[in-house]
């Protein structure tokens, strides 16, 4: 056994291989459940029942669909660019998988004398790597649109490219305050910084009731969301836009572009696009949890202490996936110029302002209470500014009708 391990390249290589395989398989499984959950939740929100035929509560529906897609004809249009057409779905899927390499899905365990972290690779540039992988996915979409040799996919691909450029900036900028606050780009260190308890709660000391209230909240974990919620807000919007999901699903707007970039795809190639999109959703959710909601941080009882962090991580990520579906069920698709307006004129300036605020306030001279107060006030301002909507739309609201007193 040890001879075999040495032949492969030592225990480090074996552990890395096992991690990669486990994460890959887990992601495939998770996709099945996420697709099922999306259909079921969407049905719930539309007062329907959803898939309920295949398996208990229809849970095997995704599997059946996958098998169906496998056996369908793999059609290639005559004017499609042969190799690019074949490559594009893979280009769209692989980066979503790769992005998961820097997501810490749990704490660590010790096997023998060896510490094994529940993360594929603790890169010291984790966030940068994630952003890079997230934006690489757009190549698949653009290439699919171009290689299909058809006009609707082309339009979808171009839209996707423009959308990705616009929102990738806001996405990247929204993560800079986190880096400023944590002094690190490594996701593991960011989670570790958040898993501490809130300290420095002595701002209200001396004031009778507020003092006790402030100290009562000492048990609250020091998650980034408390101070960085405007950054989270920007990250969430930009993240939804980056996954090409409703209300930012312009690249596959079925009312205008048939099915957008995957119009000409069928069978297993389409399934790969599908897979990539859902993994991307899970990846964005996982990163949001990692950076803003403490990652795997949570109470860990003595029973199986290494498993609890993973449970917390899964629960938190699941909540985000639910939010994604919820938004899809609620919001109509944005018009193209509104999309650009939101990205360039609101999210990017808001993110820049927030970086400045964080950089100015996040020093040791400023006490936590003052810092939170400034964060809160300015964050609220930014939120109102972003959330106010397009001022050009305001005159379009219905004017108040004058009430006449009837015929008499």
């Amino acid at each position: 056994m040890s001879g075999l391990i040495d032949a492969i390249g030592g225990a480090t290589v074996v552990i890395a291989l096992v991690k990669v395989v486990v994460v890959f398989l887990a992601l495939m499984l998770v996709t099945i459940f996420v697709v099922y959950a999306e259909r079921k939740v969407l049905a719930d929100m539309q007062a329907r029942v959803g898939p309920n035929r295949w398996g208990p509560y229809g849970i095997l529906q995704t599997l059946a669909d996958g098998i169906k897609l496998f056996f369908k004809e793999d059609f290639r249009p005559r004017y499609a660019d042969r190799w690019t057409y074949a490559l594009a779905p893979v280009m769209a899927m692989v980066p979503s998988f790769l992005a998961f390499a820097v997501v810490p899905i749990g704490d660590h365990i010790t096997i023998g004398d060896r510490r094994v972290d529940f993360i594929v690779s603790d890169l010291n540039i984790g966030i940068l790597y994630f952003l890079a992988m997230g934006s690489l996915g757009v190549y698949g979409v653009v290439l699919a649109g171009w290689a299909s040799g058809s006009k609707y996919p082309l339009l979808g691909g171009i839209r996707s490219g423009a959308q990705m450029i616009s929102y990738e900036i806001a996405l990247g900028l929204s993560l800079v305050p986190i880096v400023i606050a944590t002094n690190s780009l490594s996701t593991v260190e960011i989670v570790a910084a958040q898993s501490e308890q809130i300290q420095n709660v002595d701002f209200f000391d001396g004031i009778p009731i507020l003092e006790q209230v402030a100290h009562f909240f000492e048990f609250v974990p020091n998650w980034n969301i408390w101070s960085q919620w405007p950054a989270f807000f920007i990250f969430l919007i930009a993240g939804i836009a980056e996954t090409n999901r409703a209300p930012f699903d312009l690249p596959e707007a079925e009312t205008e572009l048939v099915a957008g970039y995957h119009t000409e795809y069928s069978g297993i190639r389409f399934a790969i696009f599908f897979l990539g999109e859902y993994i991307h959703v899970v990846a964005i959710s996982a990163i949001a949890v990692t950076l803003f909601f403490g990652g795997w941080d949570g109470p860990a009882p003595d029973f199986l202490p290494w498993a609890w962090p993973m449970v917390w991580f899964l629960v938190k990520t699941g909540i985000f996936v639910y939010l994604f579906v919820w938004l899809r069920a609620t919001l109509p698709r944005l018009r193209y110029d509104r999309l650009m307006w939101l990205g360039w004129k609101r999210l990017i300036p808001a993110a820049l302002v927030w970086i400045m605020v964080t950089a100015a306030v996040n020093t040791d001279e400023v006490t936590r209470g003052v810092r939170l107060a400034i964060f809160g006030a300015l964050g609220l301002l930014i939120l109102i500014w972003v959330g106010r909507g397009d001022p050009r739309l305001l005159p379009a609201t219905t004017p108040k009708k004058e009430v006449s007193s009837g015929a008499s």
């Binding site: 007062a47 029942v49 898939p51 035929r53 609620t330 919001l331 972003v386 909507g389």
Partner: protein, 186 residues
């Protein structure tokens, strides 16, 4: 403000999660149609067994979709089908054309043609959908295509079990939806 509107929308959507589902697990569970639902036709008989239809073709004339085909023939003392002079030798309704408007039933002078609440009219070929006289006349029972485990009447108040995996809680209809008795004559 765009953001409060989004939140309002999300609240509206999430409310549906806690509502009862409208879906019924057809075909295991069926909603029974209202008593005056217009489904497939039948041809009635007199109590003595003679056909009510006299082959007058008024139904075919009234049909806006041209779905009914009738060929009348004379009754003879040896072969008597209906009380009058004539009877329908051929009577066909094409359910691929029928729009279930009920004008044929209103046109029928002898009340021979009636509509049932049967709505499961499906088949694999066009020929199957042309119902002939022996299918329409009421000696032949109406055959369902699938077995029914459960029927739910439209005004049913109680809760019933859903189909596998479904979460149907109740298939109650609002009271306003029930057919009302018309005022005046009729």
């Amino acid at each position: 403000m765009a953001l409060p509107e989004i939140l309002t929308g999300m609240r509206v959507v999430i409310r549906n999660v806690f509502k009862r589902k409208e879906t019924v697990g057809y075909p295991e569970v069926r909603r029974q149609p209202f008593p005056r639902f217009k489904g497939r036709h039948i041809l009635d008989r007199h109590p003595d067994g003679l056909e009510k239809c006299i082959g007058c073709e008024l139904c075919a004339g009234a049909c806006p979709a041209d779905a009914i085909y009738v060929v009348g023939a004379e009754n003879t003392p040896e072969m008597r089908f209906s009380p009058g002079e004539r009877y329908a030798q051929i009577y066909q309704i094409n359910y691929l054309r029928c729009i279930f408007c009920g004008l044929c039933v209103e046109a029928c002078p002898t009340e021979a043609l009636l509509m049932t609440t049967e709505y499961e009219i499906s088949g694999a070929t066009r020929e199957e959908h042309i119902y002939t006289k022996d299918q329409l006349i009421i000696d032949a029972p109406i055959v369902r295509h699938w077995d029914t485990k459960k029927e739910v009447s439209p005004d049913r108040k109680s809760v019933h079990k859903p189909a596998m995996g479904g979460r149907v809680r109740d298939t109650r209809y609002p009271e306003d939806f029930l057919p009302r008795t018309r005022g005046g004559h009729d």
